[in-house]
């Protein structure tokens, strides 16, 4: 593992779920470049005027885990839920809830425990069948430098939050 990744895991060790996304947290991951790329990706499909605010677009970006397909899915779900031909924050929240529901259908208690351990940096990173499943359904995402992190929407699920025990 590179020094940067080691440092990253050290920093993340005591992170609360979603703290990396909290704009006020000093531990917020610097995602400015990635965010800019994802914004351009969104705006190539949807004009900014269709959003009720830029925050709504950022909200979707924050919840896609940096995964382009999930971003497009969230965008599509937001459009499906909208009734005023505008992409509004309330509809974006429903879209996130909908994707959360997809994950909830597939994850079990053991999955949540494993994801939590990975997020805390406590898990042996050996390839195991359970991990394959989590990667395949995108509950676990692998970033550059092989950094693993559960999908931000999974981190908001009650099952994930409940499983804080050893």
């Amino acid at each position: 593992m590179s020094d940067r990744v080691t440092e990253f895991f050290k920093l993340r060790k005591n992170l609360e779920p979603n703290e990396a996304l909290d704009p006020d947290s000093p531990l917020r991951v610097d995602t400015a470049h990635a965010r800019d790329t994802l914004r351009r990706m969104v705006l190539a499909r949807v004009p900014l005027e269709w959003f009720d605010s830029e925050d709504t677009m950022d909200y979707l970006i924050d919840h896609c885990g940096g995964h382009p397909r999930d971003l497009v899915r969230l965008l599509s779900l937001t459009w499906q839920k909208s009734r005023h031909n505008r992409l509004e924050r309330a509809d974006a929240e429903k879209a996130v809830a909908s994707l959360a529901s997809d994950f909830r259908r597939l994850l079990n208690t053991e999955d949540y425990a494993l994801l939590r351990r990975i997020d805390q940096g406590d898990e042996d990173r050996a390839e195991r069948p359970e991990l394959v499943k989590l990667f395949q359904i995108l509950a676990l995402l692998e970033y550059n430098d092989h950094w693993w992190r559960s999908h931000p929407i999974v981190q908001g699920l009650p099952g994930y939050a409940r499983d804080v025990g050893p």
Binding site: S76, L77, Q80, D102, L106
Partner: protein, 458 residues
Amino acid sequence: MSDPDADALPAVESRHSGELLQLSRLLVGPPRFALLFLEYGERRYRDAIIQQLTAMGHPGVELPMQADWNSSGPLLDALAALPADCAAVHLLGLGEWLRLDEGTDRCRLLNHMREALGQAAARPLLLWLGPGELKLLALNAPDLWAWRRSVFNFSRPLGPRAEPLLPRLPFIERINLDRDLARQRMESIDRYLATNPEPSWAVASLWWERGQLCSQWGNRDQAMEDLNEAHRLFEQQNDLLTAAKVVAEMATIQWLRGEPETALKRLRDEVLPICATLGDRHSGAVTNTKIADILRDQGEVNAARELLEEQSSIFEEFGDLRACATTQINIADILQQQGELDQAHRLYEAQVPILEKSGDTLTTAITKRAVALILQRQGEFDKALDIYQTLLPLFEKLGHVREQAITLTRVASIHAQRGELDKALRIYEEQRPICKQLGERDFLAFIDEQITLLRRLQ
């Protein structure tokens, strides 16, 4: 439909209206491939949903998976052979087909043929899956799952948890509750809501009922607050049809409070489009009846009458005799407004037995009061007064403050017409604060006008 006995299919529940509206957005426009997963609990309810989609203008072809389809060829051939005008494909029996080899091989087959499926289908492909089948497919065909455009849940809650702790009272039962029982009912609702129950459809229903009771008792501010909460919760539960019905009730209150334009806008923009997209003609007719009431009030009597006649035939088509009678009463109101008293009288009288038979005590009483008003206008004061006096204890018993106030002001006007100015003035003065609480500007202006006039004459 896959079932020949389509009439016996269960009714589609309003709690699935949000899912249907969102699904319909994916089915409009020129057909193109979209992979949609739909969960269901009961086969007949699945068929009812497919029937509903057809009624909404989204007919699809049902394609049952065959047990001997062991390779990608037969399914792709079947898709390619579909008629060109087929707008969507319902893939049925997928779960049983997957289970024939314990799932995994056939899941892998679907996984590998993802691109080919997209090309062969070239239109929305609706994959219907029963309990547990969606998880089986998603975990064993992750590439196919990754292509999903949306997942819809058309399962119905089963077992004891489906029953709310305090079920909402049916319409007729609710409007016929006498005041004391209604107070007890309100206390039960409040006790239940005070336990901060988890947001649910049942809880939304109770806020709705609470709002209706408050409205009935003349506490319109509280009614609006409760109806807003009910609306928020129904939206949260994705029951957009019931949420729209709650909007219609809020719009009625807004109209009575002197905001007809706001009310019309809400009915036309927030309620009617949902009824139309869902193909719910009955709810659309109920909404149009409310619109007609407002139009009549604004003096657009011809437009109102035309609209009411259209709705009456829709109710007739549905065999809803009570709604039909109510619409006829609205038409009679227009006739009365136009001075066609005899015709209006006959129309009112004809509705009374229908309403009595339906058990709708309140509308029956309101109709009898309308007859009394005609008698009053024809100078038959004693007969009119007799009817009003008979109805007053009923309105009081039912706790319908507005109806009581309207009836009492009619009694007052008879006193005034007979020269009994003190009696008339006292009634108007007593009703003024009640009317103020109701927030009905026109009604209040009328009472104030009568009070000023009577004081001047005294």
